[in-house]
């Protein structure tokens, strides 16, 4: 039942976090950044594109949600959709430009655009609040026909909302990754010259990957703004792009659930360590180095290796145990019983 395994794993994470964690906000953050990391992974793990620009789309999502809930008030679901669309649009524009280059030049281009967006956000204080960001973002409850269906006031209530959106997005992304498009992306990642030589339009494929990635990342940014009540400039900063990238790599590129592992690892470590030791980022830097050197498949890869070791041992041990039982059970010592 490999098909549903990842979906079930995601569901397990979503359901067990309330049982194991104290903070609803932290749990929501794990899912929110999990979404962002999945968006990043679609580009990196599936298409082979290392983007330092995810902060652009995250920031766009935050700002759009803030503006559509405070300044030009729209119903909350519509605001979320609009933020997602803005993320997709931003990614379409940026993607259309950066795709023109490959390899190192591509990476540098995403960096340049990330910086440009940051400075534009810094100066367009009318829209973005500049250094202060946008504040006092409300968290409207879900209503229908004037009646409150689902209040989002407490952290765990909000978590339920985020969890539902997360599962829906995860399911959709899973479908995308398994679709014809998703499979073709893998070919682009492996050998894009050959992919072009056998008939595929690389620009279109990469652009579509960017758009989907931007949409998911914009959604994440919007949820983040709703959760914290602010859309700060830091969402558009280099550090955000870096953080999302780090989560993606730590979790493991190449499968979507791994990105949730990455965000959980990063945020739980941050939460746990930052009170103990303010310089916990040092550890994170060392983890990154370790992963680059020895564990390129990330936490997921580590898990896979451990799992196969465990299964290997169990099978051999089980075989031996069965053998012993058979020999002991039959007085004549083996009567055609197949171990």
């Amino acid at each position: 039942m490999k098909r549903q395994t990842h979906l079930i794993l995601a569901l397990v994470v979503v359901l067990t976090m309330p049982l194991l964690m104290h903070s609803g906000s932290l749990a929501s953050e794990v899912l929110i950044y999990g979404l962002a990391a999945m968006g990043c992974n679609l580009l990196l793990g599936f298409t082979g594109l290392l983007s330092f620009g995810q902060g652009i789309f995250f920031g766009l999502g935050s700002y759009t949600l803030a503006l559509t809930l405070t300044r030009w008030p729209l119903p909350m679901p519509l605001a979320l959709i609009l933020a997602t669309v803005m993320g997709a649009l931003g990614a379409a524009i940026v993607g259309w430009v950066v795709i023109r280059q490959k390899g190192t030049y591509f990476v540098m281009l995403t960096l340049a655009f990330a910086q440009m967006f940051y400075f534009i956000a810094y100066t367009a204080t009318g829209l973005t609040g500049g250094d202060n960001g946008l504040m006092d973002i409300p968290r409207p409850s879900i209503t229908a026909l004037g009646r409150t269906l689902w209040p989002l006031t407490s952290p765990w209530q909000f978590y339920g909302f985020v969890a539902a959106i997360f599962m829906a997005a995860f399911w959709l992304l899973l479908k995308v990754s398994r679709s014809t498009f998703g499979r073709t992306l893998l070919a682009v990642r492996d050998n894009e010259e050959r992919a072009a030589a056998i008939g595929y339009n690389l620009k279109l494929l990469k652009l579509q990957a960017f758009v989907i990635s931007g949409a998911v990342t914009g959604l994440a940014g919007a949820l983040h703004a709703m959760m914290t009540g602010i859309a700060p400039l830091s969402n558009a900063e280099y550090h955000t792009s870096e953080m999302i990238l780090v989560m993606t790599v730590i979790g493991g590129t190449g499968n979507l659930f791994a990105s949730v592992l990455g965000s959980a690892f990063y945020l739980l470590l941050a939460d746990w360590l930052s009170t103990l030791w303010p310089r916990w980022l040092l550890l994170l830097g060392l983890v990154l180095i370790a992963i680059s050197l020895w564990m390129q498949r990330g936490l997921w890869g580590l898990g896979e290796t451990l799992w196969s070791l465990v299964r290997g041992k169990r099978t051999r041990a089980t075989d031996k145990a069965i053998e012993k039982l058979v020999v002991a059970a039959s007085p004549s010592g083996g009567n055609g019983e197949q171990a």
């Binding site: 340049a112 400075f119 990154l288 180095i289």
Partner: protein, 286 residues
């Protein structure tokens, strides 16, 4: 008129520092095909080691010599012990391992010296200003311009005139050929990386009396270094010089016209170059 002249000279001063900062990154890229995200960290270490030495009462001049050597050694070790093992992996890990290094160094700096940063006093001999008619300019900044100019000539001589330099230039074309000629390519990699770290550290030492030592100057420097290297051309010494001066002057002049726009402009320039002429102004076409 005077203000613009001042800004241009300021720009040259900043530009020369940018050149020093970027030349190591550019050469490392040309030879190792490595985008070193830890480059800013060497600049950071340079500034802080200088700060520490002056705190211990040692002379700035001593720091000018010792610090680049020390940080150069750190760079050399880093390549030997860590980076060398990443060359065989996918290219994203080349970048990510240096991101991890940069993060680790930044945190170590904060661990050691605190998060706030501090100033570094200009050495006594270079304090004060030079007055020439209506033109007033800090002596230290003139020193920086002169010193980096001399250094540029020295570096150019090393690259063009020595055997190491020839090996580096040849290696930029083809590492295979170089190793076939019997030169230990890996040893050159470590040396070049160390040299890159040393020049970045030197830029940090020179910058410290101007803007102090502060933990986030590494990231800031990295951004600028990238722009200069891209505009000038990855792998090109003269490109780093031209790019550094250009960016320095543009930034300086813009800061009087439209301060916020200055930073935006240099990144727009970077994107434009990457799109229209990715090998930069003086870089070699791939």
């Amino acid at each position: 008129m005077n203000i613009y002249l001042l800004q241009v000279i300021n720009g040259i001063g900043i530009g020369m520092l940018y050149f020093l900062l970027a030349v190591g990154l550019s050469i490392v890229f040309g030879l190792l095909r490595f985008v070193n995200f830890a480059h800013g960290a060497f600049y950071l270490l340079g500034a802080y080691f200088c700060y520490q030495m002056t705190r211990w009462g040692m002379s700035f001049w001593l720091a000018l010599v010792v610090v680049p050597l020390a940080v150069g050694a750190v760079g050399w070790l880093t390549e030997k012990l860590i980076l060398r093992h990443v060359y065989a992996t996918a290219h994203e890990f080349h970048i990510l391992v240096t991101v991890g290094l940069a993060l680790a160094v930044q945190e170590l700096v904060i661990l050691q010296w605190g998060p706030l940063g501090d100033s570094v006093t200009v050495p006594a001999m270079l304090q004060g200003v030079v007055i020439w008619g209506s033109f007033v300019y800090p002596i230290y900044r003139l020193f920086v311009i002169g010193f980096t100019a001399v250094l540029a000539v020295l570096l150019w001589y090393v690259l063009e005139g020595t055997r190491l330099g020839s090996a580096v230039r040849a290696g930029s074309e083809s590492t295979e050929m170089v190793s076939l000629l019997g030169i230990n390519v890996f040893r050159i990699f470590s040396l070049v990386f160390g040299l890159g770290a040393a020049t970045a550290a030197l830029a940090g030492v020179l910058a410290a009396p101007i803007r102090g030592a502060e933990p986030f100057m590494g990231i800031e420097a990295l951004g600028v270094a990238f722009v200069v290297v891209v505009v000038g051309g990855m792998g090109s010494f003269s490109g780093a010089l031209l790019g550094g001066l250009l960016i320095g002057i543009v930034q300086s002049v813009m800061s009087t016209l439209w301060p916020e726009g200055a930073r935006l402009m240099i990144y727009i320039a970077m994107a434009a170059v990457l799109l229209l002429r990715p090998h930069g102004l003086l870089g070699r076409k791939e």
